[in-house]
């Protein structure tokens, strides 16, 4: 049953892939630590690199996954030292992390967060190893109708769990799906929404879309922050670098509980680090905050969201690798990257691509150890990255965006399109949209339509096929419940997530 893992370690332990896992961990930590650039932006900006190097699919995925997990580590730097969360998932880290830094415990806080991140990720990777093959067995039973229902469930759970505004989450997802319909229709060869522009016949390119949406819009947002002089917190001194064993032991149950919570939430399609860290923090507050010190620099209040954060990052690989449904915006980007290698995501991926899947899981184990070894002693060095001035950072992001798109297309239209998408992404973010559902919609849109049409052509156009098997009925009911329960249980939710609201 675990052949894939043995095979995977065979892949991941080749010198090239070991080097890439290290490079990914290093680059990820650096990019995650850059002010204003969270994990998802880091991946978006660095993604073209994987193609530039001409890597095979499994190596590219190992590099990108290393960047992903690494940037989750790096992201905590600005949360703890500057009180500026790099992304939504890091908000909870600031609540107790920054007060700790203010008390002069920045170093131990960084160390503790590295240890909790390591444990959270390890628990989740073991969970991934155990669960993925089981889920993959179920996944084989998925026909097009079930797959379509599963994607509906993913969007439903995302809209229910993510962000404050479910309507905007859904609108974002619909917009993403709509963008994916541009180009030649694969079923009939009809051109859709191309407006007689040959550049659009192949659809909107994934790299152009992602870089525009994240990197270009980020440039505009950073300009705004600089103009308003936001986010220029005093950087706390690091102090003692190492975390004490007693401090880790003080948090051990908080870390373990939060790891499990993070993993379970990460596995749910569509929900990622932000939900996981919020639930873990509030749970931990209820269980172990006896003297009301959460929010004032309690070590457990830092360990819980950090463990959950990283556990959910690894957990979100479960639906991605077994079902082809990304568990978060970031895994949606990874999945899109795989599709560029002509690897079809979906229930069969685990069987058809054991090298890619096994290699990735094995490299997560390796990368995680590397990250701990990198981050414990070098926290002070990485923290310097925070001081990179914006006037140097922003042109660098622009350069990476331009070169990333140019080297794939050597085409001016692609660059212009990237800029237009960047303005679109900026406007969405100003309107309070999260970009993750847009990416998820864009990546899944084509698959969604394809499966819907395949299901309906099997049934000769009878919509009933979508609700025929027990599996698909179960998924539809689950989707409905996920949307309806929070609606009716609003009061319960207010009780359950007070800290999430306060932030």
């Amino acid at each position: 049953m675990f052949d894939f893992l043995i095979q995977g370690f065979g892949v991941a332990l080749t010198p090239l892939n070991l080097g890439l896992a290290f490079l990914g961990a290093l680059l990820g930590t650096l990019f995650g630590a850059l002010p204003g650039i969270g994990p998802i932006n880091g991946i978006a900006i660095l993604m073209p690199l994987a193609y530039t190097l001409g890597l095979p699919a499994e190596s590219a995925l190992i590099l990108l996954a290393g960047i992903y997990t690494g940037s989750e580590y790096g992201g905590r730097m600005s949360s703890i030292l500057l009180n500026v969360p790099g992304d939504a998932g890091a908000v909870m880290t600031t609540l107790d992390g920054h007060p700790l830094a203010k008390k002069g415990l920045a170093g131990p806080a960084l160390g503790l967060s590295a240890v909790s991140s390591f444990i959270g990720a390890t628990v989740a990777i073991i969970g991934l190893t155990l669960f993925a093959p089981l889920l993959a067995i179920v996944a084989v039973k998925f026909g097009p109708a079930e797959f379509f229902a599963l994607m509906i469930f993913a969007f439903a759970s995302m809209s229910a769990m993510m962000g404050k505004d479910p309507v905007k989450t859904l609108i974002g997802a619909v917009l993403g799906v709509l963008i994916s319909t541009v180009g030649v229709d694969s079923g009939t060869g009809v051109l859709r929404f191309t407006f007689d522009m040959p550049e659009l016949y192949d659809g909107i390119d994934f790299v152009v879309m992602i870089i525009g949406l994240f990197a270009v819009s980020e440039i505009l947002l950073m300009l705004e922050h600089a103009f308003r002089h936001d986010q220029e917190g005093e950087m706390a001194p690091i102090g003692r670098v190492m975390v004490k064993m007693s401090e880790v032991l003080y948090c051990k149950w908080a870390i373990l509980r939060s790891s499990v919570i993070g993993f379970v939430i990460g596995v749910l399609p569509g929900t990622g680090a932000s939900v996981a860290s919020a639930v873990a923090y509030t749970t931990e507050k209820r269980i172990s905050d006896h003297d009301n010190s959460f929010g004032t620099g309690n070590m457990r209040g830092l360990a819980a969201p950090e463990a959950a954060n990283n556990a959910s990052a690894a957990g979100s690989f479960v639906p991605m690798l077994t079902l082809g449904i990304p568990g978060s915006g970031t895994t949606a980007i990874l999945l899109g990257a795989l599709m560029l290698y002509n690897i079809n995501p979906g229930p069969m991926m685990f069987r058809e691509q054991p090298v890619v899947v096994g290699g990735l899981i094995a490299s997560l184990y390796i990368g995680n150890v590397m990250l701990l070894l990198l981050n414990l002693p070098l926290a002070g060095v990485f923290a310097r990255v925070l001081q990179v001035p914006r006037w140097l950072l922003v042109p660098s992001v622009a350069i990476l965006a331009f070169v990333g798109v140019y080297q794939l297309h050597s085409d001016l239209m692609a660059i212009y399109l990237m800029l237009i998408i960047g303005v679109f992404g900026y406007l969405l973010r100003k309107f309070g949209f999260s970009l993750a559902p847009v990416v998820l919609g864009f990546v899944l849109g084509g698959l969604m339509e394809e499966n819907l049409r395949r299901a309906l052509s099997i049934s000769g156009g009878d919509v009933g096929i979508l609700f025929q098997s027990g599996l698909s009925i179960g998924l539809w009911i689950a989707a409905a419940l996920v949307v309806l329960i929070p609606m009716f249980a609003g009061k319960l939710k207010a009780k359950f997530l007070p800290a999430a609201k306060a932030s």
Partner: protein, 152 residues
């Protein structure tokens, strides 16, 4: 008019939904065995988008902070700089355009002129060396340099 932003957005989205519906409706579909065809999915989506837009209109969220005045001007200027970067990227070449754009952006982000110039030049040269020799990416040298080299 505190809640205006989301209402304007919902009207825009309604317009978009209508536009998509009309565009999808006009698709010429050749005969095929596919009972659904290319129209149905976009039509479905545009319907969904319209419903969501109406919900947004009825229950708009907070408007947030929108850029005005000097900031708006800077944002537009930045996009214009990036547009010019794209337009000149191939003909003027990577080194020259990147240096210029980096200098302008650095200056926009509040760097002192000397710092901006030095930083921009270093960024351009450094990234050029990294990309071409480190990663093996071929970047445009620029037609003017090529013609100079060609005339020699």
């Amino acid at each position: 008019m505190k809640l205006a932003a989301d209402r304007i957005l919902s009207l825009l989205l309604l317009g978009l939904a209508a536009f998509i519906a009309v565009q999808a409706w006009q698709l010429q579909v050749p005969f095929s065995y596919d009972p659904v065809g290319p129209k149905a999915f976009p039509l479905l989506l545009s319907g969904l988008l319209a419903i969501l837009a109406i919900v947004l209109f009825i229950r708009p969220g907070a408007s947030g902070q929108w850029p005005t005045g000097a900031l708006l001007l800077r944002l537009v200027f930045t996009m214009a700089v990036l547009g010019i970067y794209a337009a000149l990227f191939i003909n003027l070449g990577y080194l020259a355009t990147t240096a210029l754009v980096s200098i302008v952006i650095a200056w926009l982000f509040g760097a002192a002129p000397v710092k901006a110039v030095v930083g921009g030049l270093l960024l351009a040269v450094g990234s050029y060396l990294l990309f071409t020799y480190g990663l093996g990416i071929s970047l445009p040298t620029g037609s003017w340099i090529e013609s100079l080299l060609g005339s020699n």
